[in-house]
């Protein structure tokens, strides 16, 4: 195994927490809701999944609990932000802090315990390819995340549901006028975003690094939010951004391990720099950015 193998094999796994959380945030933002609580929702999902798996409930149940738990927590956000039309930025931050606090509280007695991760599944035929093969040996959650990416892309591109979500985000008044319930679409979008953040946290705590440590999400929720913006609210770009981020952060570590004479601080900041630069270049076309940006993002809806 060399550095290339290491990056190819680890890239998708490293990207998965970002990808799942960012896809959830994408749906919420496309519906016009800015939920900044992703970090806390991830932490909350992570601790729920860990507790279930630790007590022998299995990974499937762990993910279900994480998704449900974080969705419920995000509904608290929905009640305050949509029901009371509170400022979404402030509410999101508050829910995020609440989620982190709850995760610390629930996780107190589980601090630094470990569980078993998930086995890697080889994609038939593709995993036999020389060099690139290790890219296709991943755990089931990675494969499901890729499927979810495709499904969301298809939903936004081809389905009525996707169009309704977009309409609600672009022009809630018009969507309302033609008979769609803006609030219920947004509630569903928020809950979906919450569930995805929960899955992302669960992946971090019971698959990727199968252990619980308070604060283990370590800023990944914020990166997910940034990926949505830099990916200009397009599913494909968000996927690319997440993979790029994962790959470059592994590259930094691999470069250090090989003894490359580059300051490690620079290598540590490289994922952020490269992702911003690359996505910045892709979205240099301001017209395109305006076209994809969500018009009513963060604005409360008044009938």
């Amino acid at each position: 195994m060399n550095a290339i193998d290491f990056i190819l094999a680890g890239m998708l796994g490293a990207a998965t927490p970002f990808l799942l959380a960012a896809l959830g945030e994408l749906v919420a933002e496309r519906a016009g809701v800015l939920n900044l609580g992703v970090e806390g929702l991830m932490a909350f999902g992570a601790v729920l999944a860990f507790i279930i798996v630790y007590h022998g409930g299995g990974h499937f149940l762990g993910f279900v609990a994480a998704g449900l738990g974080s969705a419920v927590l995000s509904l608290v956000f929905a009640v305050v932000a949509l029901g009371f039309r509170a400022n979404q930025v402030a509410t999101g931050l508050a829910i995020g802090i609440l989620g982190q606090g709850l995760s610390a509280l629930f996780g107190k007695t589980y601090e630094s315990l470990t569980v078993k991760g998930l086995p890697k599944l080889a994609f038939p035929w593709l995993s036999e390819i020389p060099v690139l093969g290790s890219l296709f040996i991943q755990d089931i959650v990675v494969w499901l995340s890729l499927a979810a990416t495709l499904a969301l892309w298809g939903m936004f591109a081809y389905t009525k549901t996707g169009l309704v979500v977009r309409a609600v985000g672009e022009n809630p008044k018009a969507a309302h006028a033609i008979g769609y319930s803006v609030t219920s679409v947004r509630v569903f979008a928020i809950a979906f975003g919450g569930a995805m953040a929960g899955f992302a946290g669960a992946y971090a705590a019971v698959v990727y690094t199968p252990l619980w440590a308070d604060g283990m999400i370590a800023g990944r929720g914020w990166i997910a939010i940034a990926l949505v913006v830099f990916g200009t609210w397009l599913t494909g770009r968000i996927f690319l951004g997440a993979c790029l981020f994962g790959a470059v952060s592994l590259m930094g570590l691999a470069a250090q391990a090989t003894g490359l004479d580059v300051p490690s601080q620079l290598l540590s900041s490289l994922p952020y720099l490269v992702t911003i630069i690359v996505l910045g270049i892709i979205s240099a076309d301001r017209r395109l950015l305006k076209l994809n940006g969500v018009a009513s993002l963060g604005e409360p809806f008044e009938r």
Binding site: A3, F6, L250, A254, S268
Partner: protein
């Protein structure tokens, strides 16, 4: 003017009220009240790790003094203004013995010590000293030297790795001694270091360990990680690993090489004794095997018996002071002379070490 006046009046009010509370609170500070001991930690207290080791070090103090001490542990306190505020609060609440468990608490804790001479402060990994303020650190390097010998005996690839938090002297000396110990067994062995530039990011630490394994490292030194992320990943990959502070053997029953454990209780106990006796004197305390603060435990049975005998010999020499890992001749990674032949680095030079020894293959970040 009005603003000034208000502020002054307010200050007066505060002064009066604090005076009142000082007078009224006198009984609260009577001699038979327990000594409040507060331990402030940057990370959560788990079953393992740095915070665990410090908290465990206070247990014998509790056992010895019973009702006469009251220990409070404040965990997960971020370095910076938040820590300063919390430390001030706990001292204002009457806790007269403060253990500041992170380098970054230094300035805030030192201010507290200077302001109130009746408070005793112990500060982890720092360098500032005051009459009632002692920095303390462990000579981890004495243990990592021994583990370096064991690692070299077990390594098949001749490549060792270290996942390290930040490039500060404490961690650098641990890596250097590890390398020097390994070189006594296999002179051309190489050590690669990945700096994760974070005290706490289990996922990144694990990725770093895997990056080192991908380079062929078959023994990994988890340098200053509080979670078992690296150790658990090594067990899964069948690679030997060891760490500092407290044993993580349960996370790697097969490939756990050993632990450079720290037992702070002799130091804490002596400091509390001195506080009660009124004889506490702030000093730079650098404690190792001889002080029974550093001890390597949970040696892996895979280590060949003759190597184990050798390790025990060196350990005894370190304990009685007849040997130091940093005894020349030592060459720096850049080829220049680090320690002259026959010379031994003094503690003061060790705590300020900012260079790698020859054999560390990766560059040291500036």
């Amino acid at each position: 003017m009005l603003k000034n006046l208000t502020r002054r009046t307010l200050m007066k009010g505060v002064a009066v009220s604090s005076l009142a509370s000082a007078l009224g609170g006198r009984s609260a500070l009577a001699a038979d009240d327990p000594l409040g001991i507060t331990l402030v930690l940057p990370s959560p207290v788990g079953d393992v790790g740095w915070g665990h080791a410090l908290a465990a070090g206070l247990e014998p103090v509790k056992a010895a003094y019973g009702d006469k001490v009251k220990v409070t542990v404040l965990e997960n306190i971020a370095e910076g203004p938040d820590a300063d505020r919390i430390m001030n609060k706990t001292v204002a609440d009457g806790n007269k013995f403060l253990v500041a468990g992170s380098f970054g608490y230094q300035n805030g804790a030192l201010q507290i010590a200077r302001r109130d001479p009746s408070v005793t402060v112990l500060h982890a990994s720092g360098f500032q000293v005051a009459p009632n303020f002692s920095p303390f650190a462990a000579k981890y390097f004495q243990g990592t030297y021994l583990l370096g010998m064991a690692a070299a005996a077990l390594s098949k690839t001749g490549k060792l790795g270290s996942v390290s938090a930040f490039a500060i002297p404490e961690l650098i000396t641990s890596i250097n001694a590890f390398t020097l110990g390994a070189q006594t067994v296999k002179p051309d062995i190489e050590v690669s270091v990945v700096w994760v530039n974070s005290w706490f990011d289990p996922a990144k630490e694990q990725e770093a360990a895997k990056a080192l394994m991908a380079q062929g490292c078959d023994v990994i030194f988890s340098n200053a990680q509080d979670t078992p992320s690296v150790i658990a990943a090594c067990e899964e990959a069948g690679v030997y690993a060891f760490n500092l502070n407290s044993s993580m053997k349960k996370y790697a029953p097969k490939t756990y090489l050993g632990c450079v454990a720290t037992d702070w209780s002799p130091f804490f106990k002596a400091s509390v004794d001195a506080h009660f006796a009124g004889t506490f004197k702030g000093a730079n305390t650098f404690l190792g095997v001889a002080d029974k603060v550093v001890e390597v435990v949970d040696w892996n049975p895979d280590i060949p018996a003759e190597m184990m005998t050798k390790i025990k010999e060196i350990e005894a020499k370190i304990a009685d002071g007849s040997f130091s890992p940093f005894t020349g001749q030592i060459t720096k990674a850049d080829g220049s002379e680090g320690v002259a032949a026959g010379a031994t680095l003094a503690d003061g030079e060790i705590v300020a070490m900012d260079w790698h020894v020859k054999g560390v293959a990766t560059p040291l970040p500036k």
